[in-house]
Amino acid sequence: MKRKFSLLYILADGFRNLRENLSLAVLSTITVGFSLFILAFFVMVFTNLHGVIWQWADRTHMVVYIKDDALKDVKSLSRALKGMEGIKEVRYVSKDDAMRLLRKELEGMEGVLEGIRKEVLPASFDIRVKKEFVSPEGIGIIAARIKKFPWVEDIQYGTEWVERFASFVRFMEVWALIIGAFLTGATLFIIANTIKLAIYSRKEEIEIMEYLGADDWYIKTPFVIEGTVQGVCGGLLAALLVFTSQYILSLYVPEHFAFIIENPFSTLTLTGGLVVAGFVLGGVGSLLSLSRFLRV
């Protein structure tokens, strides 16, 4: 019986406090909203850039030249390669294809090719490797394994490109981590302090409640309700800001850069994620800030 009434009072108090401290509640909500918006925008841009960079990883390929005497059974050689770990795609380039490619590359200077027969050019396999092997080490491992086949004449792969690519990805990931950690830290700091400030302004009320014999949970719950409501509203505001800024930026950003501000997640996932983040930050933030003021 007692519990039933207490719960009723707590819920009523939580929403009533929101109404009574409306300006502070709105301020907290806006702070949470903008903080989450900046963080979300960063995550969005980084995810987009990361995705594009990994598309470049597809350019990582190896050329495996085949000894002429092994050309009778190209299909089984190709099967052997496809069965290897780390290989995504195998394409056979016959002597005819090689000649055609060479002609294409030397367009306008065909004279150079006069007297050269296609037999001189080696047939090869053009191999694309899986993402997780796009590193100097990964490529090296695959090359070493392929070299063991007796039919392999030679292997060529752009070590330099792979190295450059891998170090660029590393560089970007490290910076994303640093900026991300900084932004997350700043967001937490701002939200925690906003809540702390809001609670501080009601320090006396908390003290009086304690003197009247209110249990900890009775004092804390209305603040946590307030915090979570503000957090959820802040999350919704952040989502609104993301979509609005996306729209505004799309009017000014050149088309080939438009991918940067595209939403890599679904609208629902992004909104849901921000609302959940606001809910958790608001609730946990209130709870942590309160523990400093209780037991006065």
């Binding site: 019986m1 304690e210 003197y211 009247l212 014999g213």
Partner: protein
Amino acid sequence: MIQLFHIFKTYEGNVTALSDITLRVDKGEFVFVTGPSGAGKTTLLKIIFGSVIPSRGSIIIDGRNYLKIPPREVPPLRRRMGFVFQDFKLINTKTVFENIALSLKVMGLGPAEIKKRVWKALSYVKLQHRANFKPQVLSGGEQQRVAVARAIVKEPTILLADEPTGNLDPDLAIEIMEIFKEVNSRGTTVVVATHDRNLIKTMNKRTIALEGGRLVA
């Protein structure tokens, strides 16, 4: 029953508030604590209330060592005590009615019961007409009466009052004391800190006198 054994209290900066206080207040007793400003009256009341921890000594309330009670058991004890603070400690964002009702809400009483009891308490302190006012628009005396109403509304087993008549004219002061007497007649132990000697004379109750943090009578 309230028992204090060799209580010492020193605040930061080596300010001694209480020194070697041993006393006993029986269940259902009405006691005055008197003494000049800075004698340690407020500290004594707050120590009994549990909001100030003594530097040394022990307190037994209803057979329990008050200083060894786990924190989660403090709120239920406070719910059985009423305290009239010298500075009232009213919540300015809530109305008079809500301020008084709050001490019943934390006890988990139902809305109908709360309403009945709050109106009764308001009629005791003659403030029915101020029920919907916020404390800051009331006079000092009216705020003090709200604080009294909030303390008695929960029918406490122990009522502690720190200068509860400090802002009241003599007639109202006597009326408040009559309310305390009535509360006391229903079994509540009442401890009132005051420096108003006339009031003490009128009431003719046991008096504990403090001076410079020591018991003098």
